[in-house]
């Protein structure tokens, strides 16, 4: 057992509002700079939809992530070109790299014209202007959230890579009211256990921090090869054209280190996010990454260790994990949601990077009978008070394509548990469901009343400090200077000439 620590974020998709407050908090703090305009370390997508960059989930096109070779080895997909094997020697040509047209051409507006336009014969206007060329744009044609709320559905939702394997009737969600739905999907870097970005970097500029699992691109060492951009199946490293370095979500480590939560999670007004510590066994990473699709989620759950297990605690202590981190792991909402209650799932585990953020699949309204679309009245398919999961609008297959490498059972388990919790709590707070019915609903999904109550507490009424259990980093040891000089450091921290930002930094 090789115990390591991972900070993990969970997203309750059922709660997501799609408001992008997370995106803006991140942008405000980290990417409002030249060269970073088009970067959204945190973005939110409407599903079904094409995402940002467009159709990023389509690895036939982008060749991100890993695959298991015929000999059973794990290999970056990127290394396999069409028909022939490529190597990193192919360094100056990357056919799978997204272009700015796949992201969007960042723009601003000619606001000055509203102040400075000379007296004329019509109203002045602020026209769009490219932030790359500085030229006027006649039409803004793409943005980081272009297909928001099912906008342009015939073009974008219809090309969602997750539609694979859906029946024609299920695909009517794209055009027919009786099947229509959409929901939101917030994304940050997954801080994977088997990160393709790290593996692909020719400069060795990317590493995973031992103390918390955060994956970082060293801004001193990065040499702009952009292999991380190609290799990451989630397209979360971005190339800064101004500095010539790639950058990505840093899991707000300057905040986490002092016990504050990520800016995106702090700002999440839907209260959908949970952040906590996981312990995992690093010896097993490769093994997990190689599991077949239908096994990969279970394998990921297995690699995460029970922080209450005395053996785990002992091993952790031995490997130098501080007490406050052990406590945090034992109170970790991420652990509970992903492993203990088995209601959170990883995002595209079939990319085999072993991503470390997890998602609770969303519930959805009951389907209507098709007659409404044919000129009849709209009526639901069932008149039950609470909906049968099978009759909900979002096809389980679709969610499984997103969250469990196609394993529908795992999605069903989560949805059914969520419904069982609702019934249990209604019986407590209203009392008109009936004890027997509630018991059978809980039994069916293997939840105890205590579990149901705990799930309810966390997903519904939890406070800030219950949603985010973040141990403070022992900076007196885990610091960037010699720990022995801490006594002096206290008096001198922050002094010194202001460093130039990004360009030609010196140290």
């Amino acid at each position: 057992m090789d115990i390591r620590i991972q900070l993990s974020m969970c997203f309750h998709l059922d709660k997501c509002i799609g408001c992008h407050t997370c995106s803006v908090s991140c942008k405000n703090v980290w990417t409002t700079r030249q060269g970073a305009e088009y970067m959204w370390w945190n973005n939110v997508e409407t599903k079904p939809g094409a995402g940002y960059p467009l159709t990023w989930e389509d690895q036939q096109r982008y060749m991100g992530g890993w695959e298991v070779t015929a000999t059973g080895a794990l290999r970056l997909k990127l290394l396999k070109g069409p028909g022939k094997l490529r190597t990193l020697a192919n360094i100056f040509f990357q056919p799978n790299l997204p272009t700015i047209d796949d992201y969007y051409e960042p723009f601003t507006f000619d606001y000055d014209n509203l102040f400075n336009a000379p007296l004329g014969d019509d109203q002045p206007v602020a026209r769009p202007k490219s932030l790359i060329t500085g030229e006027f744009m006649d039409k803004v044609a793409l943005g980081p959230n272009w297909d928001d709320d099912f906008g342009g559905s015939p073009l974008y939702a219809a090309n969602d890579p997750n539609l694979k394997g859906l029946s024609e009737s299920q695909k009517q969600m794209l055009t027919h009211f009786h099947r229509l739905f959409y929901f939101y999907f917030p994304r940050i870097c997954n801080h994977c256990l088997n990160p393709a970005c790290v593996a692909s970097c020719p400069s060795g500029a990317i590493y995973k921090r031992g103390e918390d699992g955060i994956v970082l691109i060293d801004q001193d060492t990065c040499r702009a090869w952009r292999f991380c951009v190609s290799a990451c199946p989630y397209k979360k490293p971005y190339y800064n054209w101004n500095t010539g370095k790639s950058e990505k979500c840093i899991f707000c480590y300057p905040r986490l280190e002092v016990g504050e939560v990520n800016a995106c999670a702090h700002a999440c007004t839907g209260r959908i996010r949970f952040v906590g510590v996981l312990f995992y066994d690093a010896d097993k990473i490769e093994d997990v990454a190689k599991q077949p699709d239908d096994r990969v989620v279970e394998a990921m759950r297995e690699i995460v260790l029970d922080p209450e297990d005395p053996k785990v605690v002992e091993a952790a202590t031995k490997s130098g994990v501080e007490e406050n981190w052990i406590w945090a792991a034992q109170n970790s909402p991420a652990y509970k949601l992903f492993k203990k209650w088995r209601i959170a799932l990883p995002h595209h585990p079939e990319f085999r990077t072993v991503p470390m953020n997890f998602y609770l699949p969303p519930l959805s309204p009951i389907l209507h009978q098709a007659k409404g679309d044919e000129g009849g009245t709209y009526d639901p398919e069932s008149m039950e008070f609470f909906n049968d999961v099978e009759l909900m609008r979002i096809p389980v297959k679709y969610l499984a394509n997103l969250l469990s490498a196609g394993n529908e059972e795992l999605v069903m388990e989560s949805l059914k548990k969520q419904m069982a919790v609702r019934m249990y709590i209604r019986q407590l707070r209203v009392g008109d469901v009936g004890d027997a019915k509630v018991k059978s609903a809980l039994d069916e999904v293997g939840l105890t009343a205590e579990d149901a109550w705990e799930i309810y507490k966390l997903v519904s009424i939890a406070t800030f400090t219950e949603r985010f259990v973040i141990p403070k980093t022992h900076r007196e040891i885990k610091t960037t200077i010699d720990p022995r000089t801490m006594y002096e450091k206290r008096g001198s921290v922050g002094f010194g000439r202001k460093r130039k930002e990004l360009v030609a930094r010196e140290w």
Binding site: D2, R4, K15, I17, C19, T21, S23, S25, N28, W30, T108, F109, F115, A117, L119, D122, Q123, P124, A126, F136, D138, G143, D149, G151, G152, A157, F177, F181, Y182, V198, Y207, K208, G210, D218, D220, C252, Y253, H266, A267, T269, R271, E286, L363, P365, I366, T377, Y378, D379, F385, I425, Q427, R429, V430, I461, T463, F464, I477, I481, G494, W507
Partner: protein
């Protein structure tokens, strides 16, 4: 392999670079602030300052927790709020004063000639050529950066010129929704009231006011804080998308489902909130009312006839007008619903005071009609013995004996009569028997009466044994108003209606009222919004849900809860110096002054009523004119003569006292030598002249029928293509040719260069929200928050308070040369709700119009109230910065007036209070915004426990809820709600129980800056917030038997005002959306290659109204400029593809934008999210005038509903922002076509 990239060793050399991101995170300080735009958020934020710059913001997470069983509020704040820091240093920020070159050049020229600025101004506006050029140049660029001193000189000169030449009430001012930045609003309102100017309303104008709320409850709006949603067991959301508009509170929508509730969403599109639905009802646009009418049918049938639910019966008997008796009237073709049976009808009671204003129930004990406590006549007792009866105890008003009222007369009827009920959409008249008792009256002899409940059973066609007629034979009988009937309107199946009705009512039965409706603007913007609202509110009341935590009608449109109104109102409207203020209902104002009324034809062309012949007028504008002269609605300018000159004229003609001046004015009105301005609005002497706008986008997001504003009010370019239609139908208004350009001067104080300042003559730079101090409250939570200054106002910006202070100083300086001292100003104001004037016009034999000789003109009774106010123009500045002497007299709100003397004294003597001295008097200083905030906090019952206790004592006195009455009330409540009612024997009255425990509380600005605080439970509001209880409207009425401020003191199912009866709206009914062919809206427009759509403008996701629309963050996350959403099949039918340039247009105007094509939009409907700006990314149009292609408000034209203009009748009495018509735009039709040339012109 895998572990090789894990950096276990913390290597200072290798990882030193990590400082790079750590340095970015470091900051200098955080300051608590919030946002002052028209948003209901009321979110507390930490603003981060780094290197002295505002760099970003994150939500504050330290709200005190309510109850532990409810999810916490943190973090409150959305994508727009968190983008606010972008504005501070952005290129759209107004950094300096600006003035258009046309005006500046004339001004400089004039000032060379005239040393007096007022003369200089006269030389410009009196020159038709110059005046026309200034107007035509509006919105066409040509701004010059200028200085505060000189632009304020121009503004003050224009205002003084207007005061002298036309009257002070031609100076108008507009700023919306004060709650979010109360001091900032107060600045301009106070200034304008001091100069005798006009404050324009906003809440009604924004179509935020749900008229059903005053109709049913006598209350502007009173709703639950969002935490209370969590207490619900069943929630129906309609016309609201909390994701978009209540983003900070939306988490409760998802969380309440895990709390066990079921969520039903009614929405024609798959709106974002639908993701939280268990059941989505894709109702067709504008058909929600039909759905709810049939829900009521099912509830009445299954929960009142087939089976009686004791809780429901108790509730409607005790808390609503359901048991009140209504007289049936013999019409030409059968029996019609009539007026309430009143004390004045009954021999036993006719001698009582205010007998027209006390109402009867059928007492089953004594088997006779008896007058019951709570009628509005008891609110204003003239006899000592009638004090303390204004409550909802079931007692005989004369004897105090207990009454047990009959809900229905079915079991004790003398007779059955056939009542006419109407299905107005089809013209169908149903004759349905109702049970009646015959009552001997002193007024009309023997009359047939029935209960409001029995009227409902007839209206909804719910059959009962013993009654025959056109009752529905079952749910499948397609008659008004069954589940089968509604299908043709809603597209929702009857079984679904039945299911929702059953679940809604059953949940309410089990939980004693925890079924909830959450409703938003999309419903309120229909012409017949009040009927739709009444329908679901009736369903809620029938199920005992109103006034219950987790239940009730929760309408969230506009941040209307200005919690400390009692104190704020005094400062804001300068009531500390003169009363009453000049407050104008804006919907009527712009309907008339932008000439939109001329494009409406006869009312009955588009509005279905039982008998069109019976209406008093043919055109809506005529109703408005009558409403003004009868004191139902305000109008400023008041008269076609200067109100100051009028006072002088009266004095010259011998009037010695103020009363004689008023007599003189009344005589002139009577003989017609003086007219109300509204009777001749296009005459130049009646135009508004100077308009100041601050904190608002009056010409952008606010301007319904914007092109009409441009053409007729501003006198600049426009795209109107419609033709006038009103002339044949108007009798009360002098019909003139429409003037082009009424305003002499248009000023905006703004932070960003949006649509309004672009069209203004002068633009002043306003402080950003992070640059000033203010206070903020909302109805979405129960905290009071500060707006704090993180940095000083950047560049040359000023806070609103300082901007108007600066202007006031300039005004005073110039005024010294024009006014030697104080002058008298004749002031007319409408009959106000919550004052004795609300019981002046019972209209028992119809409405009595003095102009038609039907009664005498008596100010304050049959016509507007009149007073003589004193204006002291040279001292405007001194008055502005000083808390005036009237603050030492009675002050308050809602008729609860406390003595301000001791409060003034105590506050002035505090060690840290600044005191000003001028004119030999000492005053509390209002010089600084923070001082104003502290004055508001100290004088309000929400934040000062002593004031609160005093107010409760007064309310206790009004209602008699102390001593035995109090204990009886508690007992009566316990009989319904059992163990929810705690022990009360230790208290002597409601003041003792509610107000006494918090008597020591005082909150200051610094306190709320340290942490948001929950406000106290005050009689100003109706919700109880003690012990962590979530606020919801009317819990105090339920728990203490306090009266509603209505005619009967109870919640109204029935509205018996003659106008409502004429329009067929006594009992709630169904009127479908307006017929597009009758709206004079697509007559002139080219229909080639275009789709015809119902035009829907819901609130958008990337803006709060228009604020943030021009914010680059939001433009980037949306589509970077103006768009319209179309259905995929509709778009395909005319060759429109996603992101194509399209023209949306009708006779009102043109909107050029790009199409977003989506399957989630229903066919035949176009969505343009409110509100965009015409300043961003708009090319030129291809048709009509080929000028820049407008924006979403270019396609609208406002319409008013005449029923909402009643007055002098209980809850149908004027209140600023709380009663009056709302300017409807939802029933709008447009055409959309692809632009022929996709290479657009700029």
């Amino acid at each position: 392999m895998a572990t090789s990239w894990i950096q276990d060793i913390v290597n200072p050399v290798k990882r030193g670079w990590e400082e790079f991101y750590r340095n970015r995170w470091q900051y200098d300080k955080t300051v608590r602030s919030t946002h002052g735009n028209n948003c209901t958020g009321g979110c507390s934020w930490w603003v981060y300052v780094k290197d002295g710059l505002v760099t970003w913001e994150l939500q504050a997470t330290d709200y005190p927790l309510l109850d532990e069983s409810i999810p916490p509020y943190e973090p409150r704040g959305c994508q727009r709020g968190i983008s606010s820091s972008w504005y501070v240093y952005s290129p759209v920020r107004v950094k300096y004063p600006y003035i258009r070159s046309t005006l500046l050049e004339y001004w400089r020229e004039a000032r060379k000639k005239y040393s007096d600025p007022v003369q200089a101004w006269a030389s410009i506006v009196e020159d038709p050529e110059k005046s026309k050029k200034v107007k035509w140049s509006r919105g066409k660029g040509g701004f010059r950066r200028h200085i505060w001193d000189e632009v304020c000189e121009i503004i003050a000169a224009a205002q003084i010129y207007t005061i002298k030449n036309y009257g002070p009430d031609r100076n108008i001012s507009f700023s919306p929704i004060p709650a979010m930045s109360q001091v900032s609003y107060a600045a301009g309102a106070r200034y304008h009231q001091l100069i005798g100017g006009v404050s324009m309303s906003f809440y009604d104008y924004y179509t935020d006011l749900p008229p059903s709320s005053p109709e049913i409850w006598g209350e502007q709006t009173d709703v639950a804080e969002s935490a209370d949603w969590y207490n619900a067991g069943y929630v129906v959301v309609l016309g609201a998308t909390p994701n978009r508009t209540r983003t900070a509170d939306c988490h409760f929508m998802s969380e309440l489902r895990y709390g066990g509730a079921k969520v039903v969403v009614m929405s024609p599109d798959y709106a974002e909130v639908t993701k939280y639905a268990d059941l989505w009802l894709p109702v067709k646009t504008g058909s929600d009312g039909a759905f709810w009418m049939s829900v009521i049918h099912v509830i009445l049938k299954e929960f009142y006839v087939d089976r009686q639910v004791p809780y429901f019966v108790q509730y409607v008997k005790n808390y609503t007008d359901m048991p009140h008796l209504v007289k049936l009237q013999k019409g030409e073709d059968g029996w019609e619903m009539g007026r309430y049976l009143r004390a004045c009808d009954l021999a036993d009671y006719q001698d009582d005071d205010n007998p027209e204003w006390k109402f009867a129930m059928w007492d089953t004990r004594s088997q006779r009609p008896r007058i019951v406590y709570g009628g509005i006549g008891y609110r204003y007792p003239q006899k000592k013995e009638n004090e303390g009866k204004w409550n909802t105890l079931m007692k005989d008003g004369k004897t105090g004996e207990d009454i047990d009222p009959a809900l229905s007369l079915l079991d004790m009827k003398d007779d059955v009569l056939e009542l006419n009920t109407y299905e107005l959409d089809t013209g169908e008249v149903y004759k349905r028997q109702v049970p009646v008792k015959y009552v001997e009256t002193v007024t009309e002899g023997r009359v047939a009466v029935t209960t409001v409940f029995d009227l409902h059973m007839a209206q909804f066609g719910v059959a009962r044994d013993g009654l025959s007629g056109d009752y529905a034979t079952g749910y499948d009988d397609d008659k008004g108003f069954t589940p089968a009937w509604q299908e043709k309107y809603t597209g929702i199946g009857r079984d679904t209606v039945i299911q929702v009705a059953r679940e809604f009512a059953s949940n309410a039965e089990v939980t004693r009222g925890r079924s909830m409706v959450i409703v938003g603007a999309s419903i309120n913007h229909w012409y017949h919004a009040d009927l739709i609202y009444r329908a679901f509110t009736d369903a809620l009341m029938l199920c005992g849900c109103v006034g219950r935590n987790g239940g009730g009608m929760n309408h969230y449109v506009g941040q209307e809860r200005l919690a400390p109104f009692d104190a704020w109102g005094q400062v804001a409207f300068a009531l500390d110096w003169a009363r009453p203020p000049r407050q104008q209902n804006t919907p009527s104002y712009w309907y008339i002054y932008t000439e939109q009324w001329k494009y409406d034809s006869a009312i009955t062309d588009y509005h279905k009523v039982p008998d069109p012949e019976k209406l008093d007028y043919k055109h809506t504008a005529d109703y408005n004119v009558r409403a003004v002269r009868m004191g139902h609605l305000p109008w400023y300018p008041q008269f076609n003569q200067n109100s100051i000159a009028l006072a002088e004229e009266a004095q010259k003609n011998g009037a010695k006292t103020d009363a004689e001046i008023i007599d003189y004015v009344v005589k002139k009105l009577k003989d017609g030598s003086l007219r109300f301005s509204v009777e001749d609005p296009d005459a130049p002497e009646n135009w508004p002249r100077v308009w100041m706008i601050w904190r608002g986008n009056a010409l952008g997001s606010s301007a319904r029928g914007q092109e009409f504003f441009f053409k007729f009010l501003l006198g600049t370019h426009h795209n109107v293509g419609a033709e006038e239609a009103a002339k044949p139908y108007v009798e009360e208004i002098t019909y003139r040719e429409s003037p082009i350009g009424k305003l002499d001067l248009l000023v905006s104080i703004e932070m960003r260069m949006n649509t309004t300042p672009v069209y203004c003559d002068i633009v002043l730079p306003a402080a950003h929200w992070y640059e000033k101090e203010d206070i903020n409250t909302t109805d979405l939570h129960s905290y009071i928050l500060p707006m704090g200054a993180a940095v000083p106002p950047n560049w040359e910006a000023k806070s609103d308070w300082d901007a108007y202070k600066f202007l006031a100083k300039k005004f005073s300086e110039i005024a010294k040369n024009h006014f030697s001292g104080p002058v008298k100003d004749v002031l007319a104001a409408p009959l106000q709700h919550d004052t004795p004037a609300e019981i002046t016009q019972p209209a028992l034999d119809g409405i009595k119009d003095w102009k038609r000789g039907e009664c005498d003109p008596i100010p304050g009774i049959t016509m507007p109230n009149m007073v003589v106010a004193q204006r002291d123009y040279p001292n405007i500045y001194n008055r502005y910065i000083s808390l005036g002497p009237l603050m030492k007299s009675k002050y308050g709100f809602h008729g609860i007036m406390t003595d301000g003397g001791p409060v003034y004294e105590e506050y002035m003597n505090k060690e840290h209070t600044n005191v000003l001295e001028w004119g030999g008097q000492k005053y509390i200083s209002l010089k600084e915004a923070k001082e104003v905030a502290n004055v508001i906090l100290f004088f309000s019952s929400l934040t000062n426990g002593e004031v609160n206790y005093k107010q409760w004592k007064i309310e206790e006195h009004h209602t008699g809820l102390y001593g035995d009455n109090y204990r009886e009330a508690k007992k009566a409540v316990k009989a319904i709600y059992g163990d929810e009612v705690k022990e009360y024997e230790e208290y002597n009255g409601v003041a003792d129980e509610v107000g006494l425990p918090t008597r020591e509380v005082r909150m200051t600005y610094d306190d709320i800056a340290a942490q948001p605080r929950r406000w106290l439970t005050s009689p100003m509001w109706s919700g109880d917030t003690r012990s962590g209880r979530a606020y919801t409207g009317f819990t105090l009425q339920i728990d203490y038997r306090l009266p509603w401020r209505t005619l009967t003191g109870r919640q109204h199912f029935y509205l018996d005002h003659p106008t409502f009866l004429e329009f067929g709206e006594g009992v709630v009914t169904h009127k479908y959306k307006l017929d597009p062919r009758k709206m004079n809206e697509i007559e002139k427009s080219d229909k080639t290659d275009a789709i015809v759509c119902n035009y829907i403008t819901p609130h958008g996701k990337w803006q709060i109204h228009s604020t943030h629309y021009d914010n680059l963050r939001m433009l980037t996350l949306s589509r970077g400029g103006n768009t319209i959403w179309l259905n995929d099949r509709d778009a395909e039918s005319v060759g429109i593809k996603d992101n194509d340039w399209v023209e949306a247009y009708n006779d009102n105007g043109i909107f050029v934008c790009r199409a977003i094509v989506s399957a989630r939009i229903p066919q035949g409907v176009a969505f343009a999210y409110h509100s965009m700006e015409r300043t961003i990314n708009i090319p030129k149009s291809e048709q009509r005038n080929k000028i820049r292609g407008g924006f979403h408000n270019s396609l609208t034209r406002q319409r008013l509903k005449p029923t909402l203009m009643c007055g002098g009748y209980g809850q149908f009495s004027y209140g600023f922002n709380s009663w009056g018509p709302i300017p409807i735009i939802r029933d709008t039709t447009i055409l959309v076509r692809k632009m022929r040339n996709q290479e657009v012109k700029w």
